[in-house]
C-alpha cells in the first residue's frame, strides 16, 4: 500500500513561515541595529577625533597665533577685527594682519633716546628717559577740587611748592623705581610740551616716542603687548577709523580691532544716552591731529586723586578738559593695562571728570569669527558658533550685566556682545583648503562630512593674557553639535611676534615678513 508522501500540514507551514519570518525579522533588525551601532560608533569616534584635533589646533594657535598671523593657515581665519577685502581674497591678506605687521627694532647699545627698542630696558626704564624720575603729586594749594590741582613733581624741582622733599631723603628702597621696577607706572608721562618728539631731541622723552611708534604701527595691541600689566595710560581714540576702509590706513588704524570697546566712552552731554556710548558717533580729535601728534599726551595718565585728570606740570593741560571743553565729549579712554577695562572715566554734567566705572572685564580682542550658516558649511557669517555661556565669558566676570535698568551696565553688556562678535578669531578647519585659497572649494566635501571649527578669544584680564578656546564640531547627518571650551595659557602677543619675526625672516623667508625683527 502506497502511502502518500508525508508533507507539511498547512499549520506546520504557517508555523514554519511564522518562525522564519520572526527569525528573519530579528536578523534584519539585528543587522539594522548593528549597522546603526557601527554608524553611531563611527560618528562618535569621528567626533571624538575632531574634538581632539580641535584641541591640538587650538593649543597650537594659542602658542603661535596661527589663525591671526600665519598666511598659510586654513582659509577663513580671522586676522583682524574686520575683513579688509582686497579683490577676491575675502580679507585673507597681510594688510589685515596689523598686529603682526613687521616692526624693525634696533639692538641694544645705540643711545638714541628716541629709539624704538622695546627689548631695551632703558626704553621704558625708570628715571633715565622718564622726564621726571619722580612720581607726580598735586599741589593742593594751586587749584580746587572742582577745577583741578596743578600737578607737580613731588620731589626735586626747586620751583615747585612740593620741593620740600628731596628724593634722596626717601628711605632706601622706597624710590619709585624700586617699587615699580624696570617699568614705571607713569612712564607715559614723560613727554614734554612744546613740540613733536624728534629722533634727536631727548627732551621730548624717549618712551612716548617708542610707545607712539608702536601705537601707530600696531595699534593698541602693540602698546598693550610691550607694556607690562599694571601700566597706566590714557588713550584718546579717533573714531574716524572705525570703518573698514580706515583699517588699512597707517595713519588712522590706531584702535580698530585692538582697543576694547568696552572702555568707557565719556558722556557727551549733547547726545542721547543711547547714542553717546556709540563709538561711531563720538566727537573726537581729528586723525590729522593724532598723526602729527600735535595733541601730544595722546597717551596721558594718572588722573588725580579726586578723579581729576592729570594736568601737565609745565604747560597746563593739552586738552582743555574737563572744564573749558566741558560737555563736548572729547573721548578719553583711561585704560589700566592691568585690567584693560579696569577703570574708566567720563565727563559728567555736574562734576566733570569725576565718575568712574568699574569694569574688571576683558580686553584685547583680536580677529574675526566666521561661522557656518548651514550644516553643509557652504555659507558663513560672523555669527556665534558657541553657546552663550561659553561665548559670553564676561557673564561670569561681570556680575552686573543683568541689571539692564542701569544704562551704563546695559551698555556694558552690549559692548561686550560687540566685542565677542567682532574680535574672536575663528577658523573653520574642515572642510579646508590647504592651498590657502580664500575661496573655499567645497565641491569635494562629502555631504555627511562633519565640520570642525576652532575659535580663540584673546584678552588680558588682571594682568594675565588669556585665551578662551572653543572647539565646534557639527555633524550634518544628525545635526548633532558638540562643543568643547576651555582657557589655555600660551604665548603672549609679543612672544608670538618674536616667533614670527624669526620665522618669517630667517626660518621661512618665503613667508611675508611679520612680527618683530631686530636689526
Amino acid at each position: 500500500m502506497r502511502h502518500a508522501a508525508r508533507g507539511f500540514t498547512l499549520i506546520e507551514l504557517l508555523i514554519a513561515i511564522g518562525l522564519s519570518s520572526m527569525i528573519m525579522m530579528i536578523a534584519v533588525s539585528a543587522f539594522r541595529q548593528a549597522s546603526q551601532t557601527i554608524s553611531l560608533m563611527n560618528r562618535m569616534s569621528t567626533e571624538s577625533t575632531l574634538l581632539r584635533t580641535g584641541y591640538f589646533l587650538n593649543a597650537e594657535d594659542v602658542d603661535f597665533w596661527n589663525s591671526t598671523a600665519n598666511p598659510q593657515y586654513p582659509f577663513l581665519k580671522g586676522h583682524m577685527s574686520d575683513a579688509v577685502v582686497n579683490g577676491a581674497d575675502l580679507g585673507n591678506n597681510l594688510d589685515n594682519k596689523r598686529i603682526f605687521k613687521p616692526v624693525a627694532f634696533k639692538k641694544v647699545g645705540e643711545l638714541n633716546p628716541n629709539w624704538v627698542q622695546p627689548n631695551d630696558k632703558r626704553s621704558w626704564y625708570r628715571n633715565y628717559f622718564m622726564q621726571s624720575p619722580r612720581p607726580y603729586g598735586y599741589d593742593r594749594s594751586d587749584g580746587t577740587t572742582i577745577a583741578g590741582y596743578r600737578a607737580k613733581p613731588v620731589f626735586g624741582n626747586s620751583d615747585s611748592p612740593c620741593d620740600s622733599f628731596d628724593w634722596n631723603t626717601l628711605p632706601i628702597g622706597w624710590e619709585p623705581w624700586h617699587i615699580w621696577g624696570d617699568y614705571t607706572l607713569t612712564s607715559n608721562l614723560g613727554m614734554k610740551e612744546g613740540g613733536t618728539p624728534t629722533a634727536t631731541d631727548a627732551t621730548q622723552g624717549a618712551r612716548p616716542t617708542l610707545m607712539w611708534e608702536l601705537f601707530q604701527r600696531l595699534g593698541h595691541a602693540g602698546v598693550y603687548t610691550y607694556m607690562p600689566p599694571g601700566t597706566i595710560n590714557l588713550i584718546l581714540r579717533p573714531a574716524t577709523n572705525n570703518t573698514v576702509a580706515n583699517i588699512a590706513m597707517s595713519g588712522s588704524h590706531f584702535d580698530k580691532g585692538e582697543i576694547p570697546w568696552s572702555l568707557t566712552v565719556p558722556k557727551a552731554i549733547t547726545l542721547a544716552p543711547t547714542v553717546r556710548f556709540d563709538p561711531d558717533t563720538m566727537s573726537v580729535p581729528t586723525v590729522g591731529d593724532v598723526v602729527g601728534n600735535v595733541l601730544k599726551h595722546y597717551f596721558h595718565g594718572m588722573p588725580g586723586s579726586r578723579g581729576r585728570l592729570f594736568k601737565d606740570p609745565w604747560a597746563g593741560p593739552v586738552f582743555s578738559f574737563p572744564d573749558a571743553d566741558y560737555g563736548t565729549g572729547n573721548p578719553h579712554w583711561f585704560a589700566d593695562l592691568e585690567q584693560i577695562n579696569g577703570e574708566s572715566f567720563w565727563q559728567d554734567m555736574d562734576s566733570g571728570w569725576v565718575q568712574k566705572q568699574s569694569r574688571a572685564s576683558v580686553g584685547l580682542f583680536i580677529g574675526t569669527r566666521f561661522t557656518p550658516l548651514d550644516f553643509a558649511n557652504t555659507n558663513f557669517t560672523a555669527g556665534p558658533t558657541i553657546d552663550r555661556p561659553t561665548r559670553d565669558p564676561w557673564l561670569a566676570i561681570d556680575k552686573d550685566v543683568e541689571r539692564q535698568a542701569n544704562f551704563e551696565q546695559s551698555n556694558r553688556t552690549s559692548v561686550f556682545a560687540r566685542q565677542m562678535r567682532d574680535y574672536t578669531s575663528s577658523t573653520v578647519h574642515i572642510p579646508r583648503n590647504i592651498t590657502d585659497d580664500p575661496a573655499p572649494d567645497l565641491g569635494s566635501k562629502g555631504a555627511s562630512t562633519p565640520s570642525l571649527a576652532t575659535s580663540v578669544l584673546r584678552f588680558r584680564q588682571k594682568g594675565s593674557d588669556k585665551a578662551i578656546c572653543t572647539i565646534h564640531v557639527q555633524d550634518p547627518t544628525t545635526g548633532r553639535v558638540v562643543e568643547l571650551g576651555g582657557t589655555m595659557l600660551g604665548a603672549t602677543l609679543r612672544g608670538a611676534r618674536q616667533h614670527w619675526g624669526w620665522k618669517s625672516t630667517i626660518d621661512q623667508p618665503s613667508l611675508k615678513p611679520m612680527g618683530d625683527v631686530y636689526e
Partner: protein
C-alpha cells in the same frame, strides 16, 4: 535536524555580529582613549607652564634665605629674607639678592649683600661695588660671564647658565598649611545673657563711650570681653586661619612627602639664560632678540613620570652639570635605564621662553602715595592700597571717597611676565 541547524547558523551569525560589534566598539574606544591620553598630557604640560611662571614670580622675591647653621640675618643682608627680583631693581645686578645690610657693626653696612645662593667658591659676585647707597641706582646689567660667573659645569641654580628641576606633586601637608574648614563663631554666649546684649555689644553704636579706646588698653571696652574670650578662654577658632598641625614645628615643616595620586603627572624645568643666549646673534637658534637683564628663562613643561630628569647619565648627549646636578641614574629613582628612557619617550614636552619684569602693577598710587598727608605731605600709609578697599560692593564709587586712580586690585608683588614665547623645537639647553 536541518531546521535546528539553520537556527543554529542564524544564531551563530547573530552572535558573531554582536561579537564583532563588541570588539569593534572596544577597539574604537581603546583607540580613542589612547589618543585622548595625548591630549591630556598636552594639557598637563601646559598647566606646568603656569606652575613654572608662578615659580619664577615667587622666587624673584622669596625663598633664598640662607638656611645654613649660623647664617646671620644681618651678615647676609637677608633681613626679612626678601629679595628684589631676578634683575635687582636697585642696581640691575643678578638677583635675587636680599635687602641692604643694616648693621652698623658690619663693614658692609648699607651695601647690597651678595646673594645667599652665590657660592663662596665662585668668582666675586658681579655688582657695582659702591658703598654710597645714594649713588644708586647703578647699572649692573652687564657683566663678563667668562670671568665673573663660575665655569661651565660649576653653575648651580639660580646662577645664569644653570637649570632647575621642578617635580610637581601635591604634598601631604604643605608647610604652613592652614585648615580649609570654616571657622565657627568662637564667641561663646551665655544663654542666661540677654541675647541682644551679646549680639550687639561689640556693635553698640549707640554707646560711643563703649567704643573709645581706654587709656591703658589696646581695645575698646565693647570688644574687650569678647576678645578676652579668644585670648583666655578656648580661643581656638577666633584666629583665622587655623593651622593644620598642632605644633609650631609641624606647622612650619609640614609633610612634604608626595600624595600617591599626585605623582608622575607633570614637571617643569627652568633654565636661566646667559647673556649669550639673548644677544641676538642667532646662537642658539632662537636668539634673535637682544635683551637686557637677568630675567630671561627657558621653561620646559613636561607631562609624564620622569620627574623632570632630563639626563640618564653623564654620558648622555648635551649633558652638563649646570643643567643636571644629579642625573636620573644618580638619583636612584628609576630601576633601570630602559625604563627611564621609555618614560621619557612617552612624555609630552613643551618649550617656552619668558621674561620676567619687576613691574608689579597693583595700582600703586604715585599721586596719593606721596601726597595724601596734607597738601604736599609725604605719607607712605597708602602704599599699594587699592581703591578696591574703599569701594562699595556696587562697583560704583563716589569720587570723594576714591583714593586711587585705578581699580588695579591685583598687585603682584612678585613682578610680572613681560612675554611668553613658544619654542617650536628643542632649544637644546634646558
Amino acid at each position: 535536524m536541518n531546521r535546528r541547524g539553520s537556527i543554529l547558523i542564524i544564531v551563530t551569525g547573530l552572535s558573531t555580529i554582536l561579537l564583532v560589534l563588541s570588539v569593534t566598539f572596544l577597539a574604537l574606544m581603546r583607540g580613542d582613549s589612547e589618543e585622548s591620553i595625548l591630549m591630556v598630557r598636552d594639557s598637563q604640560a601646559r598647566i606646568m607652564l603656569a606652575s613654572a611662571l608662578e615659580y619664577l614670580q615667587e622666587t624673584s622675591r622669596l625663598g633664598w634665605r640662607s638656611t645654613a647653621a649660623g647664617a646671620s640675618p644681618l651678615g647676609d643682608g637677608s633681613r626679612g629674607y626678601e629679595c628684589y627680583g631676578w634683575t635687582d631693581v636697585r642696581d640691575g645686578s643678578i638677583g635675587p639678592r636680599g635687602p641692604r645690610i643694616d648693621n652698623p657693626a658690619d663693614v658692609n653696612n648699607g651695601r647690597l649683600p651678595v646673594p645667599t645662593w652665590w657660592s663662596a667658591s665662585w668668582p666675586a659676585y658681579p655688582h657695582d661695588d659702591v658703598i654710597d647707597p645714594q649713588k644708586d641706582p647703578q647699572n649692573a646689567y652687564t657683566y663678563s660671564p667668562s670671568a665673573q660667573l663660575p665655569g661651565a659645569g660649576s653653575r648651580r641654580w639660580p646662577c645664569p647658565g644653570s637649570a632647575m628641576r621642578g617635580d610637581m606633586y601635591v604634598m601631604r601637608t604643605a608647610p604652613y598649611a592652614v585648615r580649609a574648614t570654616k571657622v565657627y563663631n568662637p564667641v561663646t554666649a551665655d544663654p542666661a545673657d540677654d541675647p541682644s546684649v551679646v549680639i550687639d555689644a561689640a556693635y553698640n553704636t549707640g554707646n560711643r563711650d563703649a567704643h573709645r579706646q581706654q587709656s591703658n588698653a589696646l581695645m575698646t571696652t565693647a570688644w574687650k570681653p569678647y576678645l578676652d574670650q579668644c585670648r583666655l578662654v578656648d580661643g581656638v577658632g577666633m584666629l583665622d586661619p587655623q593651622p593644620v598641625n598642632d605644633t609650631w614645628t609641624e606647622f612650619r615643616l609640614g609633610d612634604r612627602r608626595p600624595r600617591g595620586d599626585s605623582t608622575n603627572l607633570g614637571w617643569f624645568r627652568v633654565y636661566r639664560e646667559l647673556p649669550s643666549d639673548h644677544d641676538a646673534n642667532a646662537d642658539p637658534w632662537f636668539d634673535h632678540v637682544a635683551l637686557q637683564g637677568h630675567g630671561v628663562f627657558i621653561i620646559a613643561c613636561g607631562a609624564g613620570a620622569s620627574m623632570g630628569y632630563r639626563f640618564w647619565s653623564t654620558t648622555d648627549p648635551g649633558f652638563s652639570r649646570d643643567l643636571e646636578p644629579v642625573t636620573a641614574q644618580e638619583s636612584g629613582v628609576f630601576p633601570d635605564e630602559d625604563m627611564f628612557r621609555q618614560i621619557r619617550g612617552n612624555e609630552r614636552i613643551l618649550w617656552y621662553r619668558a621674561e620676567w619684569t619687576a613691574m608689579q602693577g597693583g595700582g600703586a598710587n604715585a599721586v596719593e602715595h606721596y601726597s595724601e598727608a596734607g597738601d604736599h605731605g609725604l605719607d607712605f600709609s597708602g602704599l599699594f592700597a587699592t581703591n578696591g578697599a574703599v569701594r562699595g560692593s556696587s562697583g560704583w564709587v563716589d569720587d570723594s571717597r576714591e583714593k586711587l586712580p585705578v581699580s588695579n586690585t591685583v598687585a603682584s608683588f612678585f613682578g610680572a611676565i613681560k612675554w611668553i614665547q613658544r619654542l617650536e623645537k628643542d632649544p637644546q639647553t634646558w
